[in-house]
Subunit: 220 residues, 2 copies
Amino acid sequence: MKPAEQPLDNQINVMIIEDDELYRESIQELINDCESLQCNHAYESCEAGIQAVEEGFAPEIILIDIDLPGMNGIEGIRHFKQLSPASKSVMLTVFDDDDNIFNALCYGASGYLLKSASSENICQYMTDVLSGGAAMNPHIAAKVLKMFTQYSQPKKEYGLTGREKEILQLLVNGMNKKHIAGELCISLFTVDTHLKNIYAKLQVHSQIDVVSKALKERLI
Amino acid sequence: MKPAEQPLDNQINVMIIEDDELYRESIQELINDCESLQCNHAYESCEAGIQAVEEGFAPEIILIDIDLPGMNGIEGIRHFKQLSPASKSVMLTVFDDDDNIFNALCYGASGYLLKSASSENICQYMTDVLSGGAAMNPHIAAKVLKMFTQYSQPKKEYGLTGREKEILQLLVNGMNKKHIAGELCISLFTVDTHLKNIYAKLQVHSQIDVVSKALKERLI
DNA sequence: TTTTCCATACCCGGATCGCGGTATATTTTT
DNA sequence: AAAAATATACCGCGATCCGGGTATGGAAAA
């Protein structure tokens, strides 16, 4: 896998946001040691980085810590996404808990690297990101996958019949019983009967509960 | 990153499910060329693989194609997960469309590799998977991330006040107005007023709609 | 062929909801 | 200091919902 060679006068601009001075400088050196990358903008806070972007600097990649004084890195992503949508944000942090990962990726981070393991192949990760890939080590990737499976869960089976599922669907779409009856061309009483059966099967006692359960458990 | 060395008599068992004979054999060779891996079980269908597992074979890793005669690979994952929960499934396919990736990962795949790009580092990916990581190239990882951001969208702001959000939360949790009043130690009339304001802000006209909208747009 | 499941339809009484008001006291903003 | 926003509380009417029934015809399963 040979990365496309970048002319020296057209290197990829990487911005670094990291409050620890020593670490910041060491990462900056690492970046500048890669011939395809350069970093002339390294800041100790999101606020400082945001100012630089507002003044017209548009880095291809923003390497950003999470635990920062003032605005944290997750919030930071949102601001950078808004100010400079083309810039790709990559988290670089010691935290590998689900919440931080989840939030960072939800706000549009293009990668999530751990400080512990990143120094060796950071250059490779950066070029991956540039070519539209995502920077993630297998450990983080596994956590992301776990969220997926958790989120899209077992899909419990309550033994709903076809008609019942149909009615559940319309209910979730905001129709009341009368409208559902009209839509399906059946009597309101029939809708009522179906709904009662649905209640029994899902063990709930109101439309609210049904809709809530259906959406939370993705029954529809 | 030095992988733990495996004694030769304790290699990792990889099962292959792939209908194309040539490709199957080439992958099998590739696996057997890795000193830490071995593959004595390569089948042309999920059904055959399932039978092997039912007869007592428990591979550490199952490499499985998607497009198969009979049961497809996505369905296959589900069966293997049930028959041998400890076995990790990795998709190996030419399809890189969102639906296939999404479904595979939802059903608990530990990785998703493209045939085009996997042959070189398949051995590394396998050891990653064994150590709890996920096998994914940056291209696939980026698609997974995109699903994340799509899923957790813009988060519209409707200008709900603190109290209103609180009531919305309780409503989504299945409480009716009377219970909410009790929970918050305020009058039922007050809950009513708040709810009316919520309706106006979200532009809906029933609790169903509120719950549905709140869950769909992840307002809570 | 009998039995069970499914979809259909109806009734009623009490509870709950939706919406139209009005009103007051604090807190925040201007 | 005046204005706006927020949280609180109350009333009544008509619509809707919930749970308890009963009932029938057809399709699927035993």
